[in-house]
């Protein structure tokens, strides 16, 4: 089926001097391989059943991926005889997505009120991916993210208070105020960043997956089956580090899942304008791992895929590349005027809001009542009000904190002219030492 690329593939010329001589891409210039549902449901496909996800498996692994193939062979998600989730699970998913959504909305409010600064990247619209994947993890599993990391941290279990006060730059933040929006870390919940440069977290994620295998095979700890999830976007998929890590992860069968949150835009660069072959999921088999494409606006579909690929990794069968088609409702960051994206595209995705979709599913399948969901909304409102209040009242970091975490072993500051280690200087702990 041919499809018209005019709906959203071509960037509208923005009435700004800089872009005036940019030729709009013609509809002739794009002919995609594969079904166009990949790029979001255009009108023509709205009433056709879309398979829950698409799967590409490298030849060498056709037999291993049987469980995943089974689901890929057209089983529809919405089968009334066979619900995908229980009531508790449904409410858990709903609460997590509402937490993510309300938190990000509160961030925007706080930012415009001057409580947080710098670059803040919000996750509105992408909650299904975070909730769908992270709610299936154990506490010992690791999540590695990018600068759009608030909701990943929240889904993994970091408290709203800790994240909010980190954003406010207070000493009670999860990183003592030293990291900020783009560096959410939690040792307790195994959240390793938060990275400001795209792609630089992927090798770290690969490294976080490495000890599972090391523990099993070198240290002989039989139960070491921790899994690592690396989240990143479509722009990152053109970066060398991504490919280098796909290679290493598949080579050593590391228990890692590469989750691509393809929201089609890297600030103002459309994925289609930046990528020779835009179907990222198909790049998995080139490196020897399955590639899966899933509708990232539907938390249940994401969760189904996530179950399979996490189990696969835990078993020791190796990594998977999962591409989630999703969309961010807000701009790239709070500083982005977001003028480049077509309002029709935004409207189309707003109609596929993952929270509304889950709500609909819960009501239709009588898993929850309006009342129950409203009470969850209220609960989250209170959690957030509390988080803001806590953050407002938290102290700012003191001067003495400045140098405390530069080195794990502060002898690294060296030996001063008086023969003592610098860190023994009393002024050092006050933060006024000149090192």
């Amino acid at each position: 089926m041919s499809f018209s690329a005019t709906n959203f593939a071509q960037p509208r010329p923005v009435p700004v001097e800089v872009r005036s001589n940019e030729k709009p891409l013609s509809s002739d210039s794009f002919r995609f391989r594969g079904p166009p549902s990949f790029l979001g449901s255009p009108h023509s496909l709205r009433f056709n059943p879309i398979p829950p996800f698409k799967l590409a498996i490298p030849h060498s692994q056709r037999s291993n991926a049987s469980a995943v193939t089974h689901i890929a062979n057209g089983k529809m998600v919405k089968s009334s005889a066979n619900l995908l989730i229980t009531k508790e699970e449904g409410l858990e998913l709903y609460e997590d997505m509402i937490l993510g959504r309300y938190f990000e909305d509160m961030c925007a409010q706080m930012y415009y009120r001057g409580k947080m600064f710098g670059f803040v990247h919000l996750y509105n619209g992408q909650e299904a991916v975070s909730t769908g994947f992270i709610k299936l993890l154990k506490k010992e599993d690791t999540v590695v993210s990018t600068y759009r990391d608030h909701v990943h941290a929240l889904s993994k279990g970091v408290s709203a208070r800790a994240v909010m006060s980190e954003l406010f730059g207070k000493a009670t933040g999860c990183c003592r105020g030293q990291g900020g929006s783009m560096h959410m870390f939690s040792k307790e919940h195994n959240v390793i960043g938060g990275f400001a440069f795209i792609g630089e977290g992927i090798p770290v994620a690969t490294g976080a997956a490495f000890p599972s295998k090391y523990r099993r095979e070198v240290l002989k700890e039989a139960g070491a089956d921790q899994v690592t999830l690396a989240f990143f976007g479509d722009g990152t998929c053109n970066n060398g580090q991504f490919y280098e890590c796909l290679n290493m992860a598949a080579l050593w069968k590391l228990p890692i899942i590469f989750v691509v949150e393809n929201n089609l835009w890297a600030i103002g660069m459309s994925h289609l304008r930046a990528t020779s072959d835009p179907e990222i999921w198909k790049k998995g088999p080139a490196f020897g791992m399955p590639g899966v494409h899933v509708d990232g606006m539907d938390v249940l579909k994401v969760r189904e895929v996530a179950k399979e690929v996490i189990e696969r990794a835990r078993r020791g069968d190796g990594p998977t590349l999962v591409e989630c088609e999703t969309y961010r409702f807000r701009g790239h960051s709070l500083a982005d005027p977001d003028e480049l994206r077509d309002p029709a595209e935004k409207a189309r995705y707003a109609a596929r809001d993952p929270i509304s979709a889950l709500k609909k599913y819960l009501f239709e399948n009588k898993l929850a009542s309006e009342q129950e969901l409203k009470s969850i909304d209220k609960k989250i409102d209170e959690v957030l009000d509390d988080a803001v209040e806590y953050s407002d009242e938290s102290p700012l970091p003191r001067r003495s904190q400045l140098l405390e975490n530069v080195f794990a072993d502060p002898k690294g500051f060296g030996i001063g002219p008086d023969g003592k280690y610098r860190c023994e200087d009393p002024k050092f702990t006050q933060g006024t030492a000149h090192v």
Binding site: T142, Q178, F185, V204, A205, F210, N405, A408, K411, P417
Partner: protein, 404 residues
């Protein structure tokens, strides 16, 4: 014969009558060693303190012109030690640490089956397995990042750059992640990684294989840098780097791998932050590190014959500088010459000049002279390459001028 060591215990007065042939020289130990002592990090070693000044040839079988021995605990008997080459010393240190802690692992190109391009990891893969001594694909940025991620989640990896210059590809990971993540995570994650490899100007290896990355990495907050120069300090620094909770970059030199020295049989670990007194003197302080130490010692012979008495210090710790050892020396001699292989612009020497000027300006009788390599991509031609780095004759001239 052994190089120097820090003593423990009471302060002994420094003996001023040092001549090259004295065989018992005292170095006043520092009181601040309490910190390192309590960590059990430094072991006293008494050596036979023979001075040996064979001509320094920068090739095989270079006997180390010597250092001093300290008067340590007299009840400890000296063992005879064993002789080995520098790369073997590195391997010994590495192997001892791998034996001691099963979380210590190695990652790099050709470190496993090939045994390392300079044989530092030879035999380790056979002994410890392919996962513990991991042969990586050629992806410096990613495997360095992988090492960092593994360090954050419980292992203690040593990442080898086949040549230090290749680590330029890993700059993103070294600067942003290695240096910063302990801080940006609010101290939650430590990164006990060691990044090591050979660098420096070799024998006509060409510009890209002759780089000195210490100048590029020195500004990165959160990392420590050390440079080894003898088998004794190579092993000691390797062990210290592996045991350190901080990320450490260990700079080795391509031309020093075949140095031979007798090192102690008993276990020892050196301090990452301390400098090494190579030759005490009175007239001028010469600060150097890595290969230039040997050019300096060669020049020192000539200088001694001409009547000068240079004090030579191998700074060893490139970041942070050991301002105590350096400062004590400056206060004694009042003249400083820095000899390094780094480039003129923005090199270690430049930083060291600034640090000394800031801290010890009042003690200087003359401006600090810094001899560095020319700001030139190291040429292939032998003659041009020779003129790029500092040669002993230039060192002699510089000292003569400085001491006028």
């Amino acid at each position: 014969m052994a190089t120097l060591f820090q003593g423990v215990g009471a302060v002994t007065p420094f003996s001023a009558s040092t001549s090259l042939h004295s065989n018992k020289l005292h170095l006043p130990p520092r009181k601040s060693l309490s910190l390192s002592e309590s960590r059990g990090a430094i072991f006293v070693h008494r050596s036979d303190a023979r001075l040996n000044l064979k001509p320094a040839t920068p090739k095989q079988d270079l006997l180390i012109p010597n250092a001093i021995a300290t008067k340590g605990d007299t009840s400890t008997p000296t063992k005879s030690g064993h002789e080995l080459l520098l790369f073997e010393a590195l391997r010994e240190g590495l192997e001892e640490e791998m034996e001691r802690d099963p979380r210590v692992c190695v990652m790099g190109e050709d470190v496993g089956h090939y045994g390392g391009s300079y044989k530092v990891t030879k035999g380790l893969a056979e002994k410890y397995g392919d996962l513990r001594v991991l042969d990586t694909p050629i992806a410096e940025n990613s495997f360095t990042g992988m090492g960092i991620g593994a360090a954050m989640t419980g292992l203690r990896p040593i990442v080898e750059g086949m040549n230090m210059g290749f680590l330029l590809l890993a700059f993103n990971q070294i600067s942003n992640n290695c240096g910063m993540l302990h801080y940006t995570s609010g101290g939650q994650f430590t990164i006990p990684i060691v990044i090591r490899g050979p660098g420096g100007v070799g024998r006509q290896l060409g510009a890209e294989h002759s780089q000195r990355l210490e100048s590029y990495f020195q500004s990165i907050p959160g990392i420590q840098m050390v440079a080894c120069s003898t088998p004794y300090n190579a092993k000691g620094l390797m062990k210290a780097a592996i045991r350190s909770e901080n990320p450490v970059i260990l700079f080795e030199h391509v031309l020093l791998y075949n140095l031979k020295e007798r090192i102690p049989d008993e276990e020892y670990v050196l301090s990452l932050e301390e400098a090494e007194m190579v030759r005490p003197g009175e007239h001028v302080t010469i600060l150097t590190y890595s290969r230039m130490r040997y050019h300096v010692m060669q020049a020192a012979k000539t200088l001694v014959n001409k009547g000068y008495d240079p004090e030579v210090i191998d700074i060893r710790s490139l970041k942070p500088f050991d301002l105590y050892t350096i400062g004590r020396s400056v206060k004694k001699t009042h003249r400083v010459l820095i000899v390094e292989e780094c480039m003129r612009t923005g090199g270690i020497g430049a930083s060291l000049t600034a640090a000394i000027t800031e801290n010890f300006h009042d003690y200087l009788d003359a401006p600090i002279v810094c001899l560095s390599s020319q700001d030139v991509p190291t040429p292939y031609a032998g003659t041009l390459e020779e003129w790029t780095v500092v040669q002993p004759a230039q060192i002699v001239t510089a000292v003569e001028q400085l001491c006028q």
